[in-house]
Amino acid sequence: MTAEVQAPPDTSERPSDGEFTDGLFARLMAAAALTVIAVLVATAVFLLIRAWPALSHYGPLSFFHARWAPSEAAATSSTPNPYGILQFIYGTVVTSLVAMVIAVPVAIAVALYITNLSPAVLRRPLSSLVDLLAAIPSVVYGFWGVFALIPALGPIGRGLTSVSGIPVIGWLFQGPFFGYSVFAAGVVLAIMVLPIVTAICREVFDTAPVAEKEGALAFGATKWEMLRLAVLPRSRSGIVGAAILGLGRAFGETIAVTMLIGNNVLTIPHGIMRAGSTMPSVIANEFTEANQPFHLDSLFVVAFGLLLLSLLVNIIGKRIVGRVSEHIA
């Protein structure tokens, strides 16, 4: 202790004092940086601790079935496990995939338009407008979705359910379609993740070398051929990274999805036109009213699973986008 406080012999005008605050300052800043690591570790540890009673009572593998029926839980018996979570994993992945199928092509088109085709004066305003989509709160999207989007989706949904003859597509779109559905949740998710996917695509397209674009035009390529030959090919992995990061964002979206998906927790829905549920939606719906044996603990199992899923997707997406930007720089 004493060795640390004792200032080294110093002949300058401001001895020891400056040195001491400098070291303390550096340590404070380092502590703040460590907070980030601590938060992530604490998240994993605390969720696991709270989930542990259910995990050890039922056994981790017994959660992998598709029926969530808290009212059937008993304090003493451990079989069968009434808390199946497969349908939540399915709902989370499928709503997010529906969102990406819609959002990624739109994001590519919008980003291509803004970076390469729009008049120069419109570039910033258009970027800002797309970014504004990210500023609208989730609860507002959910509310708007119930009253404006679902009625508008009605004809589309009923049209899609009428293609029942084709093998895979028929299963995917089988009816009846009542509005609240995996499909409706996916459409709102698409709008919500569009800004981030567009922003990353914009950045990726901006890095296409001007010389190659001008070269393509000089050889007589049309604008579209220039985009197809000089911009899109080298952007492929960037687009994949953007899509995966958007997917990670969609996985965790809670309130809008909860308001639109119909909250069917009893089974994996057939196709995407029927009601389902996601990992965030069941937590939001039942957390404060969990009163059955192991109910809250099982919700923490869901939360822990959601954490793992989102960490996985975000690390993969970050790796790809990071590698792309390193490659560019």
Binding site: T21, L28, A33, D131, L132, L133, S138, F287, L299
Partner: protein
């Protein structure tokens, strides 16, 4: 198909390039497609904003902004004053918690570097992707089980949501401060801490403020983590952050899902108020960013 190819060959003879006309048509077609998608995207934004404004303006008024909801949600009248106050208190607590830690962490990333900085930068990007409802569950397990649902718990949860956003935007701003300024300061005999506090931070200050305002706007719209922490209180104005507290977002959610017309009217007015507040902060933040020399207009990506 056959009919199409006849004039094409004629044209290619004229222009000297094979398939010239088809290339031009493809070009025009793709231009039109990209333009239409762009227009459709802006139209969706307009649809959401106009719809919320149209529904919200039906009830938004002095009564809505100055009163609390009626005890029975099916009754008409009343307002979300308690939620508006709660939103400002909870998001304010979140800002007070995340701002110093976030700025300090960003300083460490930019000014000190090293292995810890590399790991922290990577984990900050990962932390942005952690679902906010998981953050809410963390604060429940760490805080609510010991101290109960409260405005503070909500503030901690939103602070954790804001933290990586503040770190990332501050880091970006600090990187824009010219190296020469730091070198000049060192040359004059200033310590590293002194240089950071009196040269680097003031130079980047407006950019940092912009980032914090954007994070604030985002936190104010959050609902999911608050369900597990602040819980909500629809009855009266609560100024004590150690008690359960309502926010605008929680009140919109609670009233929207009731099924009562009167409650939904209040929720629409609340949605319009929330969107207006969030857009106000977002636009103000951009305006500050656009007026500054260092990093003007840079903090615009919705990497939230």
């Amino acid at each position: 198909m056959m009919i199409d190819e006849e004039p094409l060959e004629e044209l290619s003879e004229v222009d000297g390039f094979p398939g010239e006309r088809r290339r031009q048509i493809t070009n025009l077609f793709m231009h039109a497609v990209l333009l239409l998608v762009m227009i459709a995207t802006v139209a969706v934004l307009a649809w959401v904003l106009v719809y919320v404004a149209g529904q919200g303006l039906k009830y938004l008024g002095p009564e809505f902004l100055t009163q609390t909801p009626p005890g029975n949600p099916s009754q008409p009248g009343g307002g979300f004053l308690n939620g508006i106050i709660g939103s400002l208190i909870v998001t304010g607590i979140a800002t007070l918690l995340s701002m110093p830690v976030g700025i300090a962490a960003a300083i460490y990333l930019v000014e000190y570097g090293g292995q810890l900085a590399r790991v922290t930068r990577f984990l900050t990007d990962i932390l942005v992707g952690v679902p906010t409802i998981v953050t809410g569950a963390l604060v429940y397990a760490m805080w609510v089980v010991f101290f109960g649902f409260s405005g503070i718990a909500g503030g901690i949860a939103l602070g954790l949501v804001m933290l990586p956003l503040v770190i990332r935007s501050t880091e970006e701003m600090l990187r824009l401060v010219p190296r020469e300024l730091r070198e000049a300061s060192f040359a004059l005999g200033a310590t590293k801490a002194g240089t950071i506090m009196s040269i680097v931070l003031p130079t980047a200050s407006s950019g940092i403020i912009t980032g914090i305002m954007l994070a604030f706007a985002r936190a104010m719209g959050e609902t999911a983590p608050l369900l597990l922490t602040a819980l909500g209180n629809d009855l009266f104005i609560e100024l004590n952050p150690t008690k359960r507290m309502s926010t605008l977002s929680l009140q919109i959610f609670g009233n929207a899902i009731t099924g009562y017309k009167a409650a939904q009217a209040r929720a629409w007015a609340g949605a319009l108020t929330l969107v207006a507040l969030v857009l106000l902060f977002t636009v103000a933040a951009r305006w500050i960013a656009s007026r500054t020399s260092v990093g003007g207009g840079r903090v615009t990506e919705p990497r939230a």
